[in-house]
């Protein structure tokens, strides 16, 4: 109802514009020129500010990498015999978790044939692909002997969770390559190869879901073997299940957030219908995870820890509020769940809570038992920011040069830039 009202308020001028825009957006090359024009228009302080930040991060990152590889882990990190894993392992957990949309969306679109989500399958797979590349790079940098990174391929220990993760990450990266290949192949017109890839895609997607399920959960399994070290609020024999469930919500939120950011950066419309569908998914997963967590804490007799006056308790509650309570409250609210600002804040909150959860598991929960606190070094932070910068630039480059966003949707759910700036649109379902 409201939708049509809003539409009727729009001037014909805008309708025409969006139609033209729609035609233009169908080909990547045109969009390039469009974004170039935008870049030119966006002269001024904001753009150069981010350029300066990027250059600064790049300089710091290259310097940090230099220190890391010439002086070793001891000189470049705050890790020690008591804190052998730090920020980088946490970032690996976070990166892989936030990339989870790669398999959930691929499964929704290609296995469950839910065509509604087809248009976001490519961005989801692309961000997963870049996320995994970043995580693999960081893992290798984190290795004491990076030159031996290939050893798990030939030296097997099938009892090791780390071994399983290594193989799953390698296999899943291969699958992401297959899933993303069409984007590159269609541009350069490798039609034969494209046909073969299209044929094996369903099998690849199914395998991708399986590999993802295994290693997303296995990141939690890493900590099963240290029951005496992990603070009880986070230790659970269901750690792998917790890791798996939470990565789904985080991955979907990441897609909402990146759709929002891309819409802003590339001047595209937002398909609120798709995003609020994702929001529903996030809501369901968050509720399941929250209930599961508290039922488990209750049944294992850890409830009193929730009210203990310790640092761990505060971090735990902060994680719960940021990652569960706030986003559930927003997403369950009929006013906000179809509202772009609501979805935006819900996803930011979910992601923050998720990041805190992973850092809590890999840092906070171990402080007490190791007897040492840990905060990352300049170089650890520098290399992390550098890799994030490279990922963002890679994403930007690919989106600008290949057809990642399928712009078939400029019907009523397409929201123009002007509207984004002036007001929030609330669409009835």
């Amino acid at each position: 109802m409201q939708k049509s009202e809003v539409r009727s308020q729009k001037s014909e001028d805008r309708d025409q514009r969006s139609e033209i825009k729609g035609q233009v957006l169908k080909t990547g090359r045109h969009r390039n020129s469009q974004s170039e024009i935008r870049n030119l228009k966006l002269n001024g302080a904001k753009l150069s500010f981010w350029k300066i930040v990027a250059v600064f991060i790049a300089v710091v990152g290259v310097y940090s990498l230099f220190v890391r590889f010439t002086k070793g882990l001891g000189a470049s990190t705050n890790l020690s015999d008591f804190v052998p894993w730090g920020l980088w392992i946490g970032i690996d957990f976070i990166g892989v978790g936030l990339a989870a949309a790669g398999f959930t969306i691929a499964a929704t679109a290609h296995i469950f044939h839910n065509h509604k989500y087809e248009s976001i399958a490519r961005p989801a797979i692309l961000s997963a692909y870049i996320g995994y590349m970043m995580v693999v790079a960081l893992l290798v940098i984190d290795l004491g002997k990076p030159e031996n990174f290939w050893h798990p391929l030939v030296m097997w220990n099938i009892h090791s969770v780390m071994f399983e993760i290594t193989w799953c990450v390698i296999c899943y990266s291969t699958i992401l390559t297959i899933e993303f290949a069409p984007v590159v192949l269609e541009k350069y017109k490798f039609d034969k190869l494209l046909k073969i890839i299209k044929k094996i895609t369903p099998a690849a997607v199914i395998l991708g879901v399986l590999f993802s399920t295994l290693h997303q959960s296995s990141f939690g399994s890493l900590y099963l073997i240290v029951p005496a070290k992990v603070y009880p609020l986070w230790y659970s024999s269901f750690l792998p299940v917790h890791f798996f469930i939470s990565c789904i919500a985080a991955g979907l939120s990441m897609i909402i957030l990146s759709a929002y950011l891309c819409a802003r950066a590339f001047k595209q419309g937002l398909n609120i219908r798709i995003l609020s569908g994702l929001g529903k998914g996030v809501l369901a997963v968050l509720i399941i995870e929250l209930v599961f967590k508290f039922v488990e804490l209750y049944s294992t007799g850890k409830f009193s820890l929730l009210f203990a006056q310790t640092g761990e308790t505060y971090f735990f509650w902060l994680e719960i509020f940021l990652g569960s309570v706030i986003p559930i409250w927003i997403l369950a609210n009929p006013k906000y769940k179809v509202n772009r600002t609501g979805l935006y804040f819900a996803s930011i909150s979910t992601i923050s809570g998720f990041i805190l959860n992973r850092m809590n598991v890999c840092v906070t929960s171990l402080v007490r038992s190791s007897g040492q606190s840990y905060s990352p070094s300049f170089e650890e932070v520098g290399i992390t920011l550098f890799l994030i910068l490279v990922s963002v630039l890679a994403f930007k480059f690919i989106v600008e040069n290949f057809r990642v966003f399928e712009e078939k949707v400029h019907d009523e759910v397409e929201v123009s830039k002007e509207e984004i700036e002036t007001k929030d649109l609330i669409f009835d379902k």
């Binding site: 590889f69 010439t70 002086k71 070793g72 882990l73 001891g74 000189a75 890790l79 020690s80 015999d81 008591f82 052998p84 894993w85 499964a107 290609h110 296995i111 469950f112 044939h113 839910n114 065509h115 984190d142 290795l143 004491g144 002997k145 990076p146 031996n148 990174f149 050893h151 798990p152 030296m155 097997w156 220990n157 009892h159 090791s160 969770v161 780390m162 071994f163 399983e164 290594t166 369903p202 199914i206 879901v209 399986l210 399920t213 295994l214 959960s217 296995s218 399994s221 890493l222 099963l224 073997i225 240290v226 029951p227 005496a228 070290k229 024999s237 792998p240 190791s370």
Partner: protein, 269 residues
């Protein structure tokens, strides 16, 4: 104890008796010498300090065993050489090996440096060469070569009061039980390492509860790899059930869409 299901009859180990230890540091020095490790305590480095300041040394990549002072009791710390070592089970490339002789050995050539061994060790033993650009994990190896040759470790050989003895594990267990039984007043009635982590090749007896000497009482009684296995063993089920489910859904939803399309086509036609 009854959990021992490996062939431990021929495995070597160590018995450390904190009631007997006089804190002389001979084991500490012998270990340094046998393993070619540089001096790490101030007096040996020619700096001013008390004679016994090796007692303040701590495990590091250059120190595989230490003697610590707890009032008038001395306690040794070193690798426990678990029967089912966490380090060996978590290492992605199998750089750790539980030898038939008992010692848990580390192969630096295989190691990739993920440091999961250090994270996983219930006794916080493995140390890392943080200062190196090709760092290795360092820890007691129970004098593997010497043990094979002489049947005794350097520390046990150096101990003047039989506070540390090495030998076949069953004999050590018998000896530990004998000492506790003959002097029940002198000992806390527990053999540390008999049940902890499902048993280890280093066992310890003490006059006081072990927590007071810095041995963690939180260490689980079951073998560490079982914690991981309870999750790992579900992998085949997850893969097969998941695979069947996803394949099924793929065909079902595809068929459903097809039917819907045909229906639509008919409707329009």
């Amino acid at each position: 104890m009854s959990e021992y299901h490996l062939d431990i009859d021929n495995q070597f180990g160590l018995l450390f008796d904190a009631s007997e230890c006089i804190g002389c540091g001979n084991c500490y020095e012998a270990c340094k010498k046998e393993n070619d490790l540089p001096a790490t305590n101030p007096s040996r480095l020619g700096l001013a300090g008390a004679d016994k300041d090796f007692l303040k040394d701590h495990l590091s990549d250059k120190t595989y065993t230490v003697v610590e002072e707890y009032g008038d009791i001395y306690a040794r710390k070193m690798c426990m050489h678990c029967l089912e070592p966490a380090c060996a089970s978590v290492c992605p490339v199998g750089a750790f090996e539980k030898t038939e002789l008992g010692p848990v050995l580390y192969n630096a050539d295989k190691c990739i440096g993920c440091r999961y061994c250090m994270q996983a060790c219930p006794h916080n033993v493995p140390r890392y060469e943080w200062g190196s650009t090709s760092p290795r994990v360092r820890k007691c190896i129970l004098c593997y070569d010497k043990l094979k040759k002489d049947g005794i470790t350097a520390c046990a050989e150096a101990c003047p009061v039989e506070a540390t003895i090495s030998g076949k594990l069953p004999d050590l267990i018998t000896e530990a039980k004998r000492r506790i039984k003959e002097n029940p007043d002198k000992y806390y009635p527990h053999i540390y390492g008999l049940e902890e982590t499902g048993g280890s090749n280093v066992i310890i007896i003490s006059p006081v509860p072990f927590e007071q000497l810095g041995y963690s009482s939180k260490v689980p009684k079951q073998s560490m790899p079982t914690f991981t296995m309870q999750a790992m063993e579900k992998i085949p089920t997850v893969v097969s059930v998941g695979g069947i489910f996803l394949t099924g859904m793929y065909w079902l939803t595809k068929r459903k869409n097809q039917l819907a399309k045909e229906e639509n086509g008919k409707g329009k036609g």
